[in-house]
């Protein structure tokens, strides 16, 4: 069904790749893929021309492979420690017992013609006796030498990866900000884009503010969607806001503050989020006469009210204030996004038929027409909620696993993925499959913990902690419940907090 290890690994692979120079990203992704999914023995040739870059890359590889439990070793090739190929082979055999990957460093000077010849002679014997991925780090000249002098050995390569750095100081081309509200870029494309943006924004001298502002915005948005909320918040407050302050761009500053509030709201810092929206964002839009931005902010305020159980007030804002604005503006996408929230409230009030009608008859078609795969997946999730409430569990599970989850995985949308996994676990519990449910809850909780998404911590933590306690893992279960309790209190969800406290008491 869903391989949780796989998606965690893929996520780490892409996010780590985003930290590299853009030109190294593709080869890094490829190399990691080979290490993880390729054969047990592989000889991978890694070309580099900067020692610092090599060391950084090795650290990154270690970081990603931690997800797989694969341990790494390192051999510094020098004539004293390894006078010949036989001693190297003996060391490889020793390391293979407890390591999956070994970095061979220093080959450029160590591989003289005799050793190259002997290594070539022993290659099949080494391959047959070792379950080890060998990363042979070499400079360009040595790679060429290998290819020319040992063609058999070369034909036997598992892959060639190039991490050379251009020292010519060619200025990076300015990336065009991608401001399309519909962002269907895959996780791989997003991580590559992060690398490109970093490379450009961190050049010396820094790019002009007019150019940098929208790019910092895009970068923070990418991090936010990928669940890297600390990084997103840091960029919004430390890079983006100062840019707009310097430019005296009041509107962009307000929009950025709204996006900071998005992060705080997702983390459960509701009061501070509400304060920013009402005191620092709304008044600016009102003063500027920006009705659209005002309506968008009102939707966010309605979200907070809804989370606090004030459904009537939230519904009034959405239907009375917001929807007419978007209709008047002809803003189909924002209107559809508002309708999803209205459907949520209708569903919470038990008006399932009306909610289902809006979702299937109006929204699915709109998002399909717009080509907005993420919003379409969100809508399908709401439909699955209603089907689940009506006992149509198989169909609800199918939508979650086949329609929704693959989209979030492709987009790298951690928050929505965690929610989908939580919902899947709920259905599995109803289908009397507690083992599967716990497995999916564990992954959902892990993803949520990594992002500090408070609402998720409270909701998922309550169910996951309870299930752990019930299956006898009380210590772990109580720890999870404790985290959930703290999150519920922070969110002002007093009823949930009380329920969790009672659970903790009963299992203590």
């Amino acid at each position: 069904m869903i391989s949780t290890d796989l998606s965690r690994f893929e996520f780490a692979r892409h996010l780590t790749g985003a930290e590299l120079l853009p030109e190294h990203s593709a080869d890094f992704q490829r190399l990691i893929k080979d290490l993880r999914y390729g054969g047990e023995f592989q000889l991978l040739i890694v070309e580099f021309n900067d020692w610092n870059v090599r060391e950084d890359l090795i650290r990154y590889i270690v970081k990603v492979l931690e997800q797989t439990g694969m341990t790494e070793g390192r051999i510094e090739l020098n004539s004293e420690a390894f006078p010949d190929v036989a001693t190297l082979e003996a060391e490889l055999i020793r390391l293979a017992v407890s390591h999956g990957v070994v970095h061979l460093i220093g080959g450029e000077s160590w591989f003289n013609d005799t050793r190259l010849d002997n290594f070539n002679l022993r290659r099949e014997a080494i391959a047959q006796s070792l379950a080890l991925r060998l990363l042979l780090w070499l400079d360009e000249t040595t790679v060429r030498r290998f290819a020319q002098l040992a063609p058999d050995w070369w034909a036997w390569r598992g892959g060639v990866f190039c991490f050379c750095v251009s020292h010519h100081g060619i200025p990076a081309e300015s990336p065009t900000p991608q401001l399309d509200p519909i962002d269907n870029r895959s996780l791989a494309k997003r991580s590559r884009r992060i690398g490109e943006l970093h490379a450009f924004l961190n050049t010396e001298p820094p790019p002009p503010d007019e150019l940098a502002g929208p790019l910092w915005d895009e970068l923070a948005g990418l991090y936010f969607r990928l669940g890297e909320w600390d990084k997103a918040l840091h960029i919004r407050t430390e890079e983006q806001l100062p840019v707009y302050e310097r430019l005296g761009d009041v509107r962009s500053k307000a929009v950025t503050k709204g996006k900071i509030a998005d992060i705080l709201q997702a983390r459960g810092q509701i009061d501070e989020a509400l304060r920013i929206r009402t005191e620092e964002e709304l008044p600016v839009y009102e003063r500027l006469g920006d009705v659209r931005s005002k309506a968008v902010t009102q939707v966010k305020i309605a979200d907070i009210l809804q989370a606090r159980g004030k459904l009537d007030e939230a519904l009034r804002i959405l239907t009375g204030d917001v929807l007419p604005v978007f209709e008047r503006l002809g803003d189909v996408r924002s209107k559809a996004a508002t309708q999803i929230k209205i459907a949520d409230i209708l569903q919470a009030r038990g008006k399932l038929d009306e909610a289902l009608r809006i979702l299937t008859d109006e929204l699915l078609t709109v998002f399909e027409r717009l080509g907005d795969v993420r919003s379409k997946a969100v809508t399908q999730g709401r439909i699955a909620d209603i089907l689940q409430a009506r006992g149509k569990l198989d169909e609800a599970l199918r939508i979650r696993t086949e329609e929704q989850l693959p989209v979030y995985e492709r987009l790298g949308d951690v928050r929505e993925k965690a929610v989908a996994l939580f919902k899947i676990a709920q259905i599995e519990t109803q289908q009397n499959q507690p083992e599967l449910a716990v497995e999916h809850l564990a992954t959902a909780f892990q993803l949520i913990e990594a992002t500090h998404y408070s609402d998720g911590l409270a909701a998922v933590g309550e169910v996951y902690g309870k299930m752990l306690c019930e299956k006898g893992e009380q210590e772990q279960g109580l720890k999870v419940l404790g985290t959930a309790h703290k999150a519920a209190l922070q969110l002002g969800q007093s009823e949930r907090a009380k329920r969790i406290a009672e659970l903790m008491q009963s299992f203590a």
Binding site: D34, E124, S186
Partner: protein, 451 residues
């Protein structure tokens, strides 16, 4: 059970192992005889050993040592498995298949090692067959070991090892254990390996006599039982030796090989064919051609394209490609070389960041393979490749041409009658420049020129 090709990128990536030939019955096997234009290869091979495949007439020569050439990774091993099945039908040959890389260290190989493996493989097959040999059939071979090997000063370490570990006392089990010790010593690079080789070389004439006698007895018994007419060794992996070992094995020691009166097929690297220093006694004109995607005039060769496509789609389900035209592009850029087609597929799986292989990944895979070829090419290589592409008819060999053939930068078609550069090389800037610098006449179209 019907075979279904994998449709998951990670499964495909994990299953691509291009060092391993396909075993008989492997569902991924594709018959490539028509595609290579090599329908006659098996027929010719059989005829060399006296068998007319069409009507079953059989007049085997007393001995023949044939070399079977082909590019590295062109599918020789897989084809030989299929030839073995055909030649080993009842009443024909008692085929003994010998997989050298599995039994010996291919990268440090001498005739003595191969000789011991031939003997071991024959005895192992005989043991399986439970063919009753005359009681004294093995005595001379046992004596040769006892007197010429185990009693020598040079082999004393080996003898000690044999005395302490070999349990069987005589007959096939004893010889099998003994020969296993030899091959294990040759493979594991023990210190006394060279001593052992020297001992065998010094008493080789006597070995040839007793081994030939044994072969004669075995063939007589096979004929009496109506099982086969002759023993035929198919030795695979001898094309994977280092250049120095290849020369020593097929050139310097050729006369020693020929002293064994039997029928043998050895796989051999293509460059050996053109070095011109092989002894006349070795039969050296049979080669497995590459799969042709075009003919010498540049007209598409449909069965070649189809076979390569089949090879690819047996490894990866068609649904894995977002654009079906990309399948043809991969085939085109493989040059009809099966291993490079698999390498391209592997690269596609590495580059693909979704659940399918898209056009961008295919482009990246082609660029990557091209850049790996660029690693060993020298400026003059491009010039020569462009010249050959302009006139693909094989007009001879110099050292550079042989090197390019060995490195697969130059591919040979139709039993070697014409050649063409590897298609990925034609996308490289170096090639394009070299091509431009030629005097204008008909040239081969570059594939997807790369900046």
């Amino acid at each position: 059970m019907t075979y279904t090709p994998p449709n998951n990128i990670l499964t495909i990536l994990n299953s691509i192992e291009f060092q391993e030939p396909l075993a008989l019955g492997d569902p991924r096997y594709v018959n490539t005889q028509e595609a290579r234009g090599s329908q006659k290869t098996l027929k010719r091979l059989a005829l060399k050993f006296g068998l007319m495949l069409t009507d079953g007439q059989f007049f085997p020569p007393s001995q023949k040592h044939s070399l079977f050439f082909g590019h590295r990774g062109s599918g020789k091993s897989t084809e030989l498995h299929h030839y073995a099945r055909e030649l080993g039908k009842p009443g024909r040959f008692f085929v003994v298949e010998v997989d050298i890389p599995k039994q010996l260290d291919c990268n440090n190989l001498q005739f003595a090692d191969v000789l011991m493996v031939l003997a071991r493989s024959l005895l192992a097959e005989l043991k399986e067959l439970t063919l009753n040999l005359p009681q004294d059939a093995l005595v001379e071979l046992e004596n040769w070991f006892a007197e010429r090997v185990l009693n020598t000063e040079e082999a004393k370490e080996f003898t000690l090892e044999v005395k302490t570990t070999v349990a069987a006392k005589g007959g096939i089990p004893y010889l099998l254990e003994l020969l296993a010790k030899f091959t294990s010593a040759f493979k594991s690079n023990v210190t006394y390996k060279d001593n052992l080789r020297r001992v065998i070389r010094n008493s080789f004439t006597q070995f040839a006599v007793v081994f030939n006698k044994l072969l004669e007895t075995v063939e007589q018994r096979l004929q009496e039982e109506g099982l086969a007419q002759r023993v035929l060794f198919i030795v695979d992996g001898t094309d994977k030796m280092s250049k120095a070992d290849t020369g020593r094995f097929f050139v310097e020691d050729a006369e020693l090989l020929l002293a064994i009166d039997t029928l043998v097929i050895y796989t051999a690297p293509l460059t050996l064919k053109y070095e011109g220093n092989l002894t006349q006694s070795l039969d050296a004109d049979l080669m497995l051609p590459m799969i042709k995607l075009y003919d010498a005039e540049g007209k598409p060769h449909e069965s070649g394209g189809q076979a390569m496509r089949d090879i690819l789609l047996k490894r990866a389900d068609e649904s894995i490609f977002t654009n079906k035209d990309d399948i043809s592009r991969l085939v085109e850029h493989s040059g009809g070389h099966p291993r490079d087609l698999l390498r391209l597929l592997k690269l596609c799986c590495e580059f693909a960041e979704d659940k399918q292989i898209d056009t961008e990944s295919v482009d990246q895979a082609i660029r990557q393979l091209a850049s790996e070829y660029r690693c060993f090419l020298e400026p003059d290589d491009y010039k020569l490749l462009a010249e050959i592409d302009r006139n693909p008819v094989n007009i001879g060999n110099d050292e550079r041409t042989r090197k390019l053939l060995y490195n697969l930068a130059l591919l040979e078609y139709n039993d070697g009658s014409w050649r063409r550069s590897h298609p990925v090389i034609r996308t490289l800037q170096g090639y394009l420049l070299a091509q431009k610098s030629l005097t204008p006449t008909k040239t081969t179209e570059p594939l997807d020129p790369q900046p």
